[in-house]
Symmetry: C2
Subunit: 219 residues, 2 copies
């Protein structure tokens, strides 16, 4: 299954600006991207990065450049895939580049849900659409706002069945400082620390539960 | 499978004090408890509430009263179950009363993980232990701090295998105002609105995405 991974090179991860410099945010965003690409490949997917600008490193997979906003860029890719091919059974997945907790197992569940329904969605915390599989030729995306509910409505409008993937790992996009704790918690639970978790540790971040709730602190 | 559901009658849901009065928090906490009990029964579990004080309404299941802190009360229940019965294959689950997004399907996955490993854990966002199945006679809980990691260490210390349940629904305990949005989002996506979601709507809460992120507002 082809898996599009949208990636913005323009001020990535701005909501982490309180804890990371611009250069650090760029480096961390790329570490997460690499982890997501690795997990997709390990799950049997064929990743393709959809970047807002050229990326000057080899990611080991194709990179398409499209500087339009997310929704327009994804819909152009869906147009190219589905127009005139409505009898084709091809599936296209869209997986966000900041799903640093994504494992091959969680992505295999996503892909299986995409085989079973016309549209499969892994909702994010806060009602976003963190990952998606599209198998219906008439379905198009709209990532504005609470896109999980919008995508359900858009699927219903074109008669597409919807499958939902209930995964904490896929629901957790790494957007704000509290999410860094989530990444470190699950890295600590795993024998195989991800690149993004290692990046955080190398940058001095550790789990901090001193106030009763788990966050991160930096040395 | 017996499923213990700890419930505190003493100032429940204090982190919702910015948006709900004390009486409302008590009423909302009970609505969530009822939803959790219903989901457990629908998943084939036998719920038993472990309350810090008597509850003056009929919950349709046994209620044990134990006014000790959570860890002590759960460990006393595990002692009673496992002491002198180490050859028994009995399993005990512990499911938090504020998992208002829990569905029978998510709980069936938890129970199945408990059949497959000595200890099964559904980690909560922030590293808590939102749901647990104990099948190893020597395992005891410690809910302080980032208990998910502690419970993994405690399981390893007694030679118990650990299964992890990756579920957004089980990872989402309803603790703070942002969690109310999560409850309303998934209620809107479902044809069958839960009692807790209905309670929120009746209290005037609606989803609000006006600032670009999804929260709740109250009429």
């Amino acid at each position: 299954m082809e898996v599009l991974v949208p990636f913005s090179t323009d001020r990535p991860k701005s909501r982490l600006s309180g804890v990371l410099t611009p250069d650090e945010r760029e480096s961390f965003a790329r570490a997460m991207l690499r982890d997501v690409l690795d997990a997709i490949e390990a799950a049997g997917g064929a990743p393709r990065v959809l970047s807002t600008a050229p990326i000057d490193v080899d990611l080991g997979c194709p990179v398409d450049v499209d500087d339009r906003p997310l929704t327009a860029a994804i819909n152009a890719a869906l147009d190219a895939r589905f127009d005139g091919a409505s009898t084709d059974s091809a599936l296209v997945a869209v997986v966000m580049a900041d799903l640093a907790l994504a494992t091959p197992g969680a992505l295999r569940e996503l892909f299986a849900a995409g085989e079973a329904a016309d549209v499969a969605i892994a909702p994010g915390r806060g009602g976003g659409t963190n990952a998606l599989v599209v198998g219906h030729p008439a379905f198009r995306v709209d990532y504005h706002g609470a896109s999980y509910l919008d995508h359900r409505r858009l699927a219903a409008a074109v008669g597409a069945s919807v499958g939902v993937v209930d995964s904490h790992r896929l629901a957790t996009d790494i957007d704000e400082p509290a999410d860094l704790a989530e990444l470190l918690i699950h890295a600590e639970a795993s024998a195989d620390e991800s690149g993004a978790a290692r990046w955080l540790r190398d940058a001095g971040f550790t789990l901090d539960a001193t106030d009763g709730r788990v966050g991160v602190s930096r040395e």
